[in-house]
Subunit: 391 residues, 2 copies
């Protein structure tokens, strides 16, 4: 087995030995120009809210009015920084004042939500955006209004959304060579049957990752996850298998990012050979633009594209009937992806995407079933891992 895994082992060592896995704005001397948020413990966030409020009380007492100096989060404020390989926010502020009919409502909502969050933090619980909205429907009127200030508050306090204890719904699952604690419970992901452990939405209760895994296998689809979990693939190839069942949710992205940072093992992606599969990798790697300020926590740089790659279709002789014709929309998305920075930086990725667009052909992970239901876990993945066939 050691020989079979030699390529994986080499990659793991490379990832582990890289001196600085993840650069910060500070490392690049850019923290004057750009802004990012960090994970903070609940008590610190609560203290930060108190500081903001004390400062505001001061300004009011000095007769300088009531308002917040908020970081700008417009489209033009979101920039991709190549050295970081992620999107961050320009350091730019606008003053939002209570003494103005156009912003009075926003300031009131912002203050009320901060008060609610302070309560949540001091009680040590977690709530959803919908919960927040319902605590003061009279003021918020529309959930959009209470939602939108959350990102402002994150930026203002310099902490992640997650640190505010406002969480999104979960859909990810995990199995494999991993143990961790969740809200004090010891979770052993080798003993989670076939269904796996649901990834929790409150990642700050997740701690103490311990693992003998050589890599994380990031799977796009539930069906492939099920195949690998049922075949206990992680017992033959020590790994951690994760899926968000399609488009990744925030909780799964946070979980993966924390996993990579703490364990420092490679992440290999198994997605459909179509533009949508690539898009899923990109969301894990880069995050979405409107969460630019939180990209350091939400993103996992340096994900390797294991498969199913356009070049695999011929390499593994996927039958013609299992290949699907790309729709016009697929082709457009493909061209759009081709121009994305994260693809352009990797010539091998560019080659694959060009191959896909030239052939106008796509394929799903399940196309491998044409050789038998267990071809994925017994032939395809073992071969890929042994050959070190990722890019």
């Amino acid at each position: 087995m050691d020989e079979v895994l030699s390529k994986v082992h080499a990659l793991e060592t490379a990832v582990k030995c890289r001196p600085e896995l993840r650069k910060t704005l500070n490392d690049l001397n850019l923290n004057e120009a750009y802004r990012e948020v960090v994970d903070l413990p609940g008590v610190e966030v609560a203290a930060a809210i108190e500081q903001v409020m004390i400062a505001i009380a001061d300004t009011i007492l000095r007769n300088e009015g009531f308002g917040y100096s908020l970081p700008s989060r417009g489209n033009t404020d979101q920039v991709y920084v190549e050295q970081l390989d992620r999107i961050v926010l320009k350091e730019k502020h606008t003053f939002t004042t209570f003494h103005n009919t156009s912003s009075v409502r926003k300031v009131a909502i912002l203050t009320r939500v901060m008060q609610l969050i302070h309560g949540v933090l001091t009680r040590g619980i977690h709530v959803t955006k919908r919960d927040l909205f319902y605590t003061d429907v009279k003021l918020f009127r529309d959930q959009k209004d209470s939602d939108s200030v959350l990102d402002d508050i994150s930026c203002l306090l310099g902490c992640t959304r997650n640190s505010l204890h406002v969480v999104a719904s979960e859909k990810g699952v995990v199995v494999g060579k991993l143990t961790y604690t969740e809200d004090g419970d010891e979770i052993d992901c080798t003993k989670m049957g076939i269904g796996g452990k649901a990834i929790p939405s409150n990642i700050d209760e997740v701690d103490c990752f311990r693992s003998v895994a050589k890599f994380v296998l990031l799977v796009e689809k539930d069906a492939a996850f099920m195949r690998l979990a049922e075949d206990r693939f992680y017992n033959r190839f020590p790994c951690i298998i994760i899926t968000a069942k399609g488009q990744p949710d925030v909780a799964t992205r946070l979980f993966l990012s924390k996993l990579k940072r703490d364990l420092r093992i490679p992440v290999l992606a198994l997605v459909d050979a179509d533009p949508y599969g690539l898009k899923i990798i990109s969301v894990y790697m880069q995050g979405s633009k409107n969460m630019a300020f939180d990209s350091a926590n939400l993103t996992t740089p340096d994900i390797k594209w294991l498969g199913v790659r356009p070049s695999d279709l011929d390499k593994f002789k996927i039958p013609e009937q299992c290949r699907l014709e790309m729709s016009q929309k697929d082709i457009e998305t493909g061209h759009h992806m081709l121009n994305e920075d994260f693809i352009q930086q990797n010539p091998k990725w560019v080659r694959e995407v060009k191959m896909m667009l030239a052939s106008k052909t796509k394929a799903e992970i399940q196309a491998l079933s044409s050789y038998g239901f267990q071809y994925l876990s017994e032939v395809y993945l073992p071969l890929k891992l042994q050959e070190g066939d990722w890019i």
Copy 2:
């Protein structure tokens, strides 16, 4: 606590003591007239396939042609049997022959899928419909064609879809006072943190339910599930908490049904006070019409409607702003629900639905947050359970 739970305890005793929790067609002497399928072990299903094939070989050798006598599954064949409180299939067959241009393709697909399923069963693995499709795209052409014969095969062999080891994707989660085995792994649902245990899609690997729970709390929404899991509600009120995060999937319905049958404890539903919430209860209770033949395994009769009920809005003084106006579509769905058999049978349910339609008002579970984020777990549910306020 014993006193607090006296009503729950009485309900539990009633459920446990009921002589025949679930009637079968056999009990009612109806198994000549109607058809249902049962859960069968893989080896038995494989043997049944072999029997079908041997019988067909016989007919071919006797020069009587190649074909299947398939149970009819049309709309008019699906009937609600009041004594069973579920929808079943009339016992009626049509002969589908290979010697007919209109059915040659169907017979070929049916035979091929049975062959594939036989392989899956003998290897003891589980696959998805998509996997099945990809094993012979040339023959199946469209996934609809390989999917549609699965129900025919279930009916033909007299076993559930699940017994064919063809599973659907999962989205349910469970926490609480429950331990069980999943594919040999011991799962303790009191030690699943806040995220909970993902309910597996292959329910036949789930076994040995053990529980001290007094009831199952069936929750419509992820957010409410999270609240209860984080507050470890099941430690104060011994229960099992389940959610399918909205519209219930097959795996969660099977899990709940098995839980109820094995543990014989009451099931209390916590859903939004709108027609959609009622629809969710109805899917758990009655199943959908096109799976009529499998209703005994998929459904959980006698679910109690705990809340949030239309009458709760005034009882718990939910503020006006947290109540939402019903849309035209909501009202139509409400009227449609009112005529459903399962509502009509319960005068208290009829009263609630009529109240909803008269007020044209709906509310979400989260509306309870207007009294504080933990109102649900600390006030609303304890009060409901103590008063025995379910219908």
